[in-house]
């Protein structure tokens, strides 16, 4: 294990951003990924370990005029306890309900889950489906600047994002679901708790007269990053829900995924799961 030359616990965003400008730093929030990854040799610690848990700007869930701003330090337990998340971002709430165990939900943060960028990350799939974007802050010429990146562009490859080393993920912004929007999150694993998804699916839509609108479909663990499935969405958007339309959407989804075989499932099994489970969960959303 690499040695840590300096441990810092900044109290403000500005202080944290300053540290990121000057030194290679590993960012510590909940620690539930950082600790096992560095111990297991899968991740090299930087010379500076920066604990961001005291940075007030990274906390809290607020409704900012139809967009929920979720601070990077918000824990999975806090998301589960948030009335705003439960009522208006229910797809995310469901994923949090499937997340690890109580002990891990109590400390793991949404910012950490995003930056860890696992293709199977539980909160990533619903956030992608709900058109979330991340806020990245960095310091330049004495001031803190922010940029926003849609999640569709944030994930680059397994464990990698487009966040620069000088940037800190401060929040994720999620448009609140429109009235009548129904969503369902599905995670396939060998046990309900503490399992990493073999595949996960987040779907949602609203019924407008006889047809589906605002169709959202995202998958986890079937590509190098979590993905949206725009062709599967297009197969349903503006159409009346029915068995044939769902089958067409499932066929379109199979064109969009690139699963691998690993310890959790084979490529073939992941394809079968996507084909069958997408129709089942979308069927629930459409009340078929």
């Amino acid at each position: 294990m690499a040695s840590i030359e300096r441990y810092v616990a900044p109290r403000s965003l500005e202080e944290a951003a300053e540290i990121l400008c000057t030194a290679g730093a590993s960012i510590l929030a909940g620690g539930t990924d950082l600790m096992p990854q560095t111990r297991g040799g899968r991740l090299q610690l930087q010379p500076v370990l920066m604990n961001v848990r005291h940075v007030a700007e990274l906390k809290g869930v607020v409704d900012e005029g139809g967009i929920a701003r979720i601070g990077a330090l918000v824990t999975i337990t806090e998301l589960l306890e948030s009335a705003l998340v439960r009522q208006r971002l229910n797809l995310l709430w469901q994923a949090c309900d499937h997340f690890a165990s109580d002990q891990i939900r109590n400390v793991a943060t949404v910012g950490g889950n995003l930056c860890n960028a696992s293709p199977a990350g539980d909160t990533l799939v619903p956030l992608l489906a709900m058109d979330a974007q991340v806020v990245l802050a960095h310091k330049q010429n004495g001031a803190v600047h922010e940029r926003r990146v849609p999640l569709t562009a944030f994930f680059v490859s397994p464990g990698r994002t487009c966040r620069a080393r000088s940037e800190l993920l401060t929040a994720v912004e999620v448009p609140l679901s429109p009235p009548g929007f129904a969503g369902e999150f599905y995670k396939h694993g060998s046990r309900p708790a503490l399992d990493i998804a073999a595949i996960s699916i987040a779907v949602g839509a609203r019924r407008d007269g006889g047809v589906l609108r605002d169709v959202r479909i995202a998958f986890g663990a079937v590509a190098p990053t979590p993905i949206r499935a725009p062709r599967a969405e297009a197969a349903l958007e503006g159409r009346a829900p029915g068995l044939a339309t769902l089958e067409a959407a499932a066929q379109a989804a199979l064109e969009e995924i690139r699963p691998i075989s690993d310890i959790r499932a084979s490529d073939w099994y992941r394809r079968e799961l996507v084909h069958n489970m997408l129709q089942r969960v979308m069927g629930h959303v459409c009340q078929l």
Partner: protein, 165 residues
């Protein structure tokens, strides 16, 4: 060698000041530096729950927590839970139900169970099962553990009702 960190925190109601290496886990600090060996090292990866402790009133896997992050916080380990009223109720219920086999998972389960009961006095079986999903018992004595936690929870609930009347 890692940098050292000066930290101050409350451990089982006692104020402590300590110097810890930056890479050290809270579990290592408790067991190796402070000699509190009630908290167990099982998997070291947050899968088994044997190292469960309370931090600021909520349960965490101490193997996943950096010791430096204990600064300014309030920690309760099994040694602290054991001498609490809730701990005594749980211990009596674990003994009465025969919920201890090899005993390795017991400290973590007692800490997690105390947290579940505190949040849900009189918790039903589904709540208990959900609450201890992060604790593995490799003797697989879950039935008796769930019974014990249920019994301790009902006793706690009676205490609450008694206190109200």
């Amino acid at each position: 060698m890692s940098a050292n960190c000066e930290i101050a925190f409350t451990l089982n109601d006692v104020r402590r000041k300590l110097t810890v290496p930056a890479h050290m886990s809270t579990l290592e600090m408790l067991r190796d530096q402070l000699g509190l060996t009630g908290t167990k090292y099982g998997c070291g990866e947050g899968e088994c729950g044997a190292c469960t402790i309370l931090v600021d009133g909520t349960t965490v896997n101490s193997c996943l927590m950096f010791a430096a992050d204990c600064d300014g916080r309030e920690l309760t380990t099994i040694e602290g839970v054991a001498v609490s009223e809730a701990g005594e109720r749980l211990r009596a219920a674990f003994v009465a139900s025969g919920a201890v086999q090899c005993g390795f998972c017991t400290p973590g389960l007692m800490v997690q169970a105390s947290h579940v009961i505190e949040g849900h006095p009189g918790a039903d079986e589904a709540t208990i099962r959900r609450g201890i999903e992060g604790n593995l018992c490799r003797c697989t004595g879950y039935r008796k553990i769930i019974d014990a936690i249920g019994a301790a929870g009902r006793t706690a609930l009676k205490g609450v009702e008694h206190g109200r009347s």
